[in-house]
Subunit: 311 residues, 4 copies
C-alpha cells in the first residue's frame, strides 16, 4: 500500500471530480475522449480524480470495461494527482476484485457505497466494512449515497468505521448538511479523516465551515471554476465565494435541469462535454443521450455560461 498511498494526502483536500465515462457504445470506451477529458480536468488544477462513481455510470458498465477504464486512466494520469476508484458492488467478492485491479494499475484509493440490493442494518454494514477493509490493497473512502443505495451510513456507524485500519474518509452525497455537520462533530478529533461533499451546490458552505473538499460533477466541464471556489472558501474571501457560487448555481439550474428526468444531471453533463468536443455522449442503458432538441438547449446554456463561445 505504501508506494501508491504516498501520493494520498491525509486528509485528502480540494476538488476531486467524479469523472464521466466516455463511451462509444454500451461496451466500448471512447478512449481518445477519456484522454482529452483527463487533460481538460487536470488542467483546471484539481486535487484528485474519482472514476467509476455514480457520475461515471459505473453500475451500468461491464466489469471488462471498468477494468479497461481503470488501466487507461491510471496510465494517462501518471501519478500527477491521486486516482480514486469506485468499487461499489452488491457482491463483496467483486468489490475486492475491482480494488485489486485498481492497485495493480497504480490507483491511490478506492471508494465504496453500501451494497445496494439487500438492505443491510447498520450493524451488518459495520461488520461488512470490518470484513472488507483488510481484503483491500488500497485506502478506502466511504460513499454515502442513500438516494441510489437506499442505505445510509449513519453518523455513529461512520465514527466506528473510522477506527478500522484503511478507512480514510467519506464522501457524502445525501444532500443533508445536518448529517455532514454531525459527522464533523463526531470526528472532530480525527483531523486526518477526509470529509468530502458530493453536491457542488453545497461546496461553498462545506469549505467555509470546515469540510475538506468536494467531489463536484461540474468539474468535468469547468474544473477551474470549482477549484477557484474551493480556494476562495479556504481563504474566507466571502465576496469571491459569492460570485463563484452564483456561477456554480447557474450550471446547476441550466445544464442539469433540461427535461424533468431524474437523470437530467447525468445526461446534461455528458451532452455538454460532447458539445465542447471533449468526448462522446453515449450513455449506458438504462439511459440514452439527449436528442437534438435538448442538445440545442444545452449548447445555448454553455454559451450563456461563457463555457463555449457563441456561434
Amino acid at each position: 500500500m505504501e508506494l501508491n498511498s504516498n501520493l494520498l494526502p491525509r486528509p485528502l483536500r480540494g476538488i476531486i471530480p467524479p469523472m464521466v465515462t466516455p463511451l462509444m457504445d454500451r461496451d466500448t470506451l471512447d478512449a481518445a475522449g477519456v484522454e482529452r477529458l483527463i487533460e481538460h480536468i487536470l488542467a483546471g488544477g484539481v486535487d484528485g480524480l474519482f472514476i467509476l462513481g455514480t457520475t461515471g455510470e459505473a453500475p451500468s458498465l461491464s466489469y471488462r470495461l471498468r477494468y479497461e477504464l481503470i488501466e487507461r486512466v491510471c496510465a494517462r494520469v501518471k501519478r500527477r494527482v491521486p486516482v480514486l476508484v469506485g468499487i461499489t458492488d452488491t457482491s463483496f467478492v467483486e468489490s475486492v476484485n475491482i480494488a485489486c485491479k485498481a492497485k495493480d494499475a497504480g490507483a491511490q484509493a478506492v471508494v465504496l457505497a453500501p451494497p445496494y440490493y439487500f438492505p443491510a442494518g447498520q450493524a451488518e454494514l459495520l461488520e461488512y466494512l470490518k470484513h472488507l477493509a483488510p481484503e483491500l490493497p488500497l485506502p478506502l473512502f466511504l460513499y454515502n449515497m442513500p438516494y441510489y443505495t437506499k442505505l445510509v451510513f449513519e453518523p455513529e456507524m461512520v465514527q466506528a468505521a473510522a477506527e478500522i485500519a484503511g478507512v480514510v474518509g467519506l464522501k457524502d452525497s445525501s444532500g443533508k448538511m445536518v448529517y455532514f455537520h454531525q459527522l464533523q462533530s463526531l470526528l472532530k478529533d480525527r483531523p486526518d479523516f477526509s470529509l468530502l461533499i458530493g453536491q457542488e451546490e453545497l461546496l461553498a458552505e462545506t469549505i467555509l465551515l470546515g469540510g475538506h473538499g468536494g467531489v463536484s460533477g461540474g468539474a468535468n466541464l469547468a474544473p477551474r471554476l470549482y477549484v477557484d471556489l474551493y480556494n476562495a472558501a479556504c481563504s474566507k474571501d466571502l465576496s469571491a465565494v459569492e460570485s463563484l457560487r452564483r456561477k456554480v448555481m447557474q450550471i446547476s439550474t441550466s445544464i442539469y435541469s433540461v427535461g424533468k428526468y431524474e437523470s437530467s444531471y447525468l445526461k446534461g453533463l455528458k451532452c455538454a462535454l460532447s458539445c465542447m468536443g471533449i468526448c462522446n455522449d453515449f450513455m449506458a442503458e438504462p439511459f440514452h443521450r439527449f436528442r437534438q432538441a435538448e442538445r440545442k438547449v444545452i449548447r445555448r446554456h454553455l454559451e450563456e455560461l461563457g463555457i463555449m463561445e457563441k456561434r
Copy 2:
C-alpha cells in the same frame, strides 16, 4: 432457442421454487448441498426450478460463482424440469453474459428484474427490454420486485413488453394483489403469458383466481406442501386449500419470523435447510447466518410443523 425451450410450457404453470444457493464460504459453493437440495425439491413434484433470484442471494455472489452454480444445477437437473436463471443486473452487458452461460449450460429461460441502481422511467424500462430481449438466447420472464429494485414494471408497460418476442411471463413479488389482478385483466387475451406469484402467502388466491403458478421460497423446505396447495386450488377444492394454506401461513409466521430483521425470511430458510441436513447455512455478505439461539428456535418450529421429527 428451440431445443431448450421445448421443455418450457406456455404458459409455465405450477410451483417453481426459487432455489437457495448453498455456500461453504463467501466464494465457495456447497456443491454436495446443491445436489441434495435439488433432489429434495424435485422429489416434491415441482414444475421448474428458478436459480439466482433474490432467495438465491444472486446479487451478493461473484460472477464466477454464479456461473459455476448454473452449470452444476443444469447438469444435475438434466432436463427433468425447466431451469430458469436470474440475470438481473445493473449492467446490460452482464445480464446478457449470464444469459449466454445459462443457454450453454442447458437452462430453459431467464428472469430479469429492472436494473436497480439508477431509477429508470417506464419508457426507459420498455426501451431497455426492447434492446435486451433480442440479445438473449432464451425466453425471458420479467420479475417485479419493487422492494429491492425501487422500480415497478407498471401494468401498461408489462402489456407493451408482452408484445416483445421472447418475453413469456412475469413473476410478481410486489405483494400487491391489485397489481396482479390488473395484469390479469390487461393480459386476458394472452393465455400463453405466465403470471406467477412470488409470496407463498398469496399462492392460494392467485391460483383460485386464475394465476398460473407460484415461485414459493418455502418449497425449498417442503416442496410437496406447495405442490399440493397448487393442485387443490387448481381443482377448486376449497377445504383442502384451507387446511394446506394454514400450514403455509404457519411456515411464514414461524420460520420466516425469527428476529426482527428485513432478512429474517432468507436467514430462516437457510437455517432450516441446514437443520434438516440438506445444505450449509453460510450466507453471503451483507448477511450472516443465524447464531445458536436463533437456530434452536428454527429447529423447534420445524418440529412443530412436522417437517422434522422431535428429538
Copy 3:
C-alpha cells in the same frame, strides 16, 4: 353503548360501503344528494354504511360540516343498517369529539386510522389506543391505511389492541394481502373480531379465504354487484365469483383510471355518481372535480359497464 351497539353484529360481516360525501361547495353539503345516495346504497342490500373515511374526503372537510353529515346520515338511515363514523384525526381530543357526536346522532361504531402528522412508534400507537378507547362512547374499528397515514398498525400490535375493551375490528386498506393473512392467523381465536378489506379488487379472495367483509368504494355506484360478489364468495360459488369479479375489475380499470392522478379513484367515483344523477361531484380542496372531457369518458365507461343506459 348498549342500545346503539345492539345493531352491530360481532363480527360485522358483509359489504359496508365507504360513503362519498356529496358537496355543493367546500363547506356546504349537498343534502338532497346525501339522501339519494343513502337510498341508492341501501337498496343494494348492504350490511352497513361507513361515513367520513378517505372516500368521504373527511380530512378535507370542516368539523362543522362533518357534524352536519353525521346527523343527516343517522337521521336518514334510521337504524336500517349500522352506521360507522370515521374519527381519524391528528388530535386525540378532536377524535373523541367526533365520536361523541356520532354517539349522540345514533351511529353504531367509529373508525380510526393512526394520527397522521407525527409518525408514532408501535408502542406509542398502542398506548394511544389504550388511552383513547375508554374515552369513546362507541365500539372502535382500526383502519390500516399506510399510504395516507405513513403508519402501519403492525400485526403484533393489532393482536395486542384487540385485547382492549371496545376494539372490535380492523379495516385494511394497505393492499398487502400477506398482512391481512397474518392478521387472520394471529387472531384465529377471536372469531368476533371483524377483519374487513378496503380494496374491492381484493374482495373475492378476502371472503373466499375467511375474511369478514369489504369496505368497497364501488358500492356507492353499484351496491348490488358487491353484495352479490360477497354472497357468491361466502357460498363458495367460484364460477359466480369469477364473473362478478370481472365486473369489479372493469370498474377499477375504467372508472378509477381516468387520467394519471393519485386521486383518480375519488374523482372518478364522484363524477360517476354525478353522471348517474345521484349527487353533485364537487370535491373539497386540494382536489377538483373532473372537467368536461374526463366526464365524457366516465359516462362512456358507465354505459359500457351497463350501469347507465346508452344515450
Copy 4:
C-alpha cells in the same frame, strides 16, 4: 391587514423561534408556562415568534386549545415582535378559521404547510394557494416540511406562488440546502420575499450565503445564542460563527439526541424547558414526556452546555 402587518418587515429577517406549546394535560394550556416562555424568548432579542408549528405540536392540539394559545400569546407579546401563527390543516376551511382567529387576536402573519392527508400534485397545490390566499386576513408564509406532509413545494411552484398577493416568504425544513439555494436563485429578483431555514444546524450557512433568517427550535432554550450566531453571520465574522456554531451543534447532538426516537428533538426540547423551570413538559398524544432516566441525561447535558448551573 394594514395595521397588523405594519409590524412585519419585508423581508422578515432574523431569528423567529418556533415556540413550544406548554401543556398541563392533553387539553389544558400551562398558561403561566406560556408567559414565562415568551418572556424568556423575547429577552434573547429575537425578531419574531412562530406559534402552532411542528415544534408547537399544533396538529395534536384541539382547535379550542389552539385558539386559546393564539389569544394568550398575542396578549402577552403585545406587539413587541411579530407573531406568526401556523394554520396548516388538511381542511381548507379550518385553515381559514385559524387565520381569522389569529387576525382578531392581533397576530401579524400566518404559516401554512401543504394539506397533509391527500397528496396533491404541484398544480393542485398552486391552485390551493390561489384559492386560499384571498381568504386569509394576514400575510402568508409557506412552510416546506416534506418529512411530515409528504409533499414538497417544488422550486418552480414557489416561484409561481410568490406572485400571489399576500404570499410573503417561505420557511424550509426539508434539510436540503440544494433546494434552499435553488429558491434563492429563482427568487433573486424578489428581495422582499423572506427565505427562512428551519434546521438550526443549517443557520450559519443560510445567513452567510444570503438567506434571511432562521426558525430555530433551540431558541426556546437559549435564544441569545441563535441571535448571536445570526448576527455574527450577518457581519461575516467567521471566527465568531465558528465558535457559536459549535455550541448549536452541541445542543443538537445532546439535547435532541436522547433515545432513538423520531421524536427525540421535541421530547428533549420540552424536557429541557421543564428542567429549567420554564414550563411543564407534558406532551400531547401520540407522544409522552421523557421519563426520569432520560430527564437526568437532559439535565446533565444542560449543565455541560452551561445553560444550567451544575448542582
